[in-house]
């Protein structure tokens, strides 16, 4: 079988409210905490949707648009940087599984 990239995998996900240009973020990340006080940067590894990335100078960046609502970052971050909520069904992002 062909090896899939994470982008290809996320391309199969059915995201909600895609037509809305400005969806309301359901996760807020204080990346100052990630960049200044976190020694493990766990979210950049454990997130299965690559919402947390490290740039070339080792700084953490976050985007919520690809989030598949798994909740992993809420546990992995033990520094209090992640404020996690469920997306709003009307104006938030989030997923609708075809199979689940």
């Amino acid at each position: 079988m062909k090896k899939l990239s994470i982008a290809e995998r996320l391309g199969m996900v059915n995201y909600l409210n895609q037509s809305k240009t400005e969806a309301k973020p359901h996760i807020l990340v204080d990346t100052d905490i990630c960049n200044h006080t976190c020694d493990h940067k766990a979210t950049t590894y454990v997130c299965p949707a690559q919402c947390y990335t490290l740039d070339e100078v080792g700084k953490v960046h976050f985007q919520f648009e690809d989030c598949i609502e798994c909740g992993t970052c809420m546990y992995a971050c033990d520094k209090g940087a992640v404020t996690w909520n469920y997306p709003d069904p009307e104006i938030g992002r989030g997923v609708k599984w075809n199979f689940g």
């Binding site: 079988m1 090896k3 590894y45 454990v46 997130c47 299965p48 033990d78 069904p89 199979f99 689940g100």
Partner: protein, 441 residues
Amino acid sequence: MEDKFDCIVIGGGIAGLSAAMTLARNDMKFLLIERGEFSGAKNVSGGVLWGEGLSKLVPNYWEDEDAGFERFINHRRLTFMDGDSSFSIDFKSESFNEKPYKGVIVLRAKFDNWLAEKVQEAIDQSKYSEESFLAPNILVEEVLMKDGKAVGIRAGEEEFFADSIILAEGVNNLLTRQVGLQDSYVPADYLAVGVKEIIKYEQSVLEDRFQLNGLSGMSNEFIGTATMGVEGGGFLYTNRDSISFGLVLGMISLRDAKLTPYDVLNHFKEHPVIQDILRGGEVVEYSAHAVSTGEMKVMPKEVFTDGLLVAGEAANLLMNSGKAIQGMDYAMHSGVLAAETIIEAKDKGDFSKTTLKVYRDKLENSFILKDMKNFQDAVHFLHSPQMFETVPSLVCDFGKQFFSIKNEPTPKTREMLTKSIKKHSSYWELIKLGIKGAKSL
């Protein structure tokens, strides 16, 4: 407040729907709120619904032309893997074809949706056919408390009131935290992340490859190099015309290995043995979810308070004991027990925790907490590095010796075993492991 409900159920997954079914059949007036567009739209599981609980909730469900399940299990396989080999324990039995089935494979977007239809039918036949509701696409943001008692919920600007609340919101239990039953921060130590692909095949290819007959199905779990040294394991379940294939990985272990779940998944899929299993399939969905492991330390401090009960994964009721990953059956049964407790509370006219604590006793006396308590050692054993590193390597090494015929004088099996053990462990380590394993299972 005349139009308040007997109960508001938050979450339309298996726990919530099982509670709702029980409430409807007992002529209770309730509201079930689901944040997904339909029941199942937000849910991910491996997944096998083990046991016969479904046949009690929906009698003769297998007669339903399009019952929500994919296949029943009559074939189970546990596979140990090293870098180039696999060694499986394989069990198939015609006796598992008997109804009620002992386990059915499900895809949640379909199964939960089907179960919700069944609940709606029960509502239609109940005394409150016009006053009980399944309400999807609504996010509950707050449980309303008054004098320490749960009295209702808020969703956006709307408030709804009830004598009781059942929280069945799943593992990411924000409301359970909000009412103070769970810590506001739950550490990753006892949680895992599951990643999964739905891989589609022509049905005849699937049936031939996995020796399926009619609606029979197979479950296969994998331990060893599947996970690149990360604590956890792989799974494969046959659906009607696809497989559910993926990994469950310990969050801390993944973090410490600096690996992503999708890279480990790619590694797993590249294993030569796995390649032969998967060949020709097409991935049609990628999904992931946080999941409990069965470690009881992670559970909420309590599963009840005044006017409120917690059911299913919201109470971290899930266990991987090595025999099976049980979670959906726990969700179903705890949902039923929660609803029964609410029905009894209504008869008594008392929804305080003095009455609702009966729910705790019901859980303690059921297979759910009995098994979780009895098999805590198995949960720990399964998460020990020996189990996902030493044992699979040793087993495969032995397999390579035992199954190769070299036209040379053949050593006795015991010598082969000794060689494998010395290579990957020691007799002493293995005896310790054996005792631990024998005790825990």
